[in-house]
């Protein structure tokens, strides 16, 4: 299952709620305002670092750029993808769950 999260974890509990429901093989993709949560040294960044021990975590690059966040500031291990990569992730996982 590919889980997408689109809300800032500084404003919304959605990322935390999503991370509590991952099973084996699940991956997380941060899009839209959620990408701000990927920054190292922040509370949501720490949650994602923990998540990375068992799951892959991706971040949509164009959304990072829009919010002025360079890839270098992300938690190590988070992979940046573009929209083509988003599509690839959707096809590689058997289903998609959007946490809205």
């Amino acid at each position: 299952m590919l889980h997408t999260v689109n809300k800032s974890p500084f404003a919304s509990a959605t990322l935390t709620q999503c991370l509590g429901h991952l099973t084996d093989g699940a991956a997380v993709l941060l899009i839209e305002d959620a990408v701000v949560g990927g920054v190292a040294g922040t509370a949501p960044g720490a949650l994602l670092a923990e998540c990375l021990k068992g799951h892959k975590v991706y971040c949509l690059g164009p959304d990072l750029m829009a919010r002025g966040i360079s890839e270098g500031r992300l938690v190590k291990g988070i992979q940046t993808v573009d929209y083509a990569g988003f599509v690839r992730l959707v096809t590689e996982h058997d289903a998609v769950q959007s946490w809205l």
């Binding site: 988003f86 690839r88 809205l100």
Partner: protein
């Protein structure tokens, strides 16, 4: 692969419609089929022919219509949600059609993936 898309938010207000569009374009470019985009909740506003954003801004309604024409994507606006929100045949943009929620369930059945964009 066959992909269906659900859009739950209106254009401009929330990025959901933009994300869905960019995703659809990328999927089509990668050779996948995007068979249907279903517009629900405020998403029905994506089908309003009366939107007129600033000229230097993206033309969201128009670009959905163009994409549909180019790649044979079925753009379906939910009738019940549309009536609540003032979208009818008379202000429905080119390339869109109004139909029932069954079209959403069908999109779930007939596609390999259904991807949801919303708030």
């Amino acid at each position: 692969m066959k992909i269906g898309i659900l859009v739950n938010e209106g254009p401009y207000t929330h990025q959901a419609s933009d994300s869905a569009y960019q995703f659809a374009v990328a999927a089509l470019k990668a050779g996948h089929k995007v068979t249907r985009v279903f517009f629900y909740h405020d998403g029905v506003q994506n089908g309003s022919s009366l939107t007129e954003p600033p000229r230097d801004d993206r033309q969201i309604v128009e670009r959905w219509g163009k994409l549909a024409g180019q790649y044979e994507v079925d753009l379906v606006v939910c009738v019940a949600a549309a009536l609540r929100r003032g979208i009818r045949e008379q202000n429905l943009a080119e390339g869109f059609r109004i139909s029932g929620l069954g079209q959403l369930v069908e999109a779930g059945i007939q596609n390999d993936r259904l991807v949801v964009f919303g708030d």
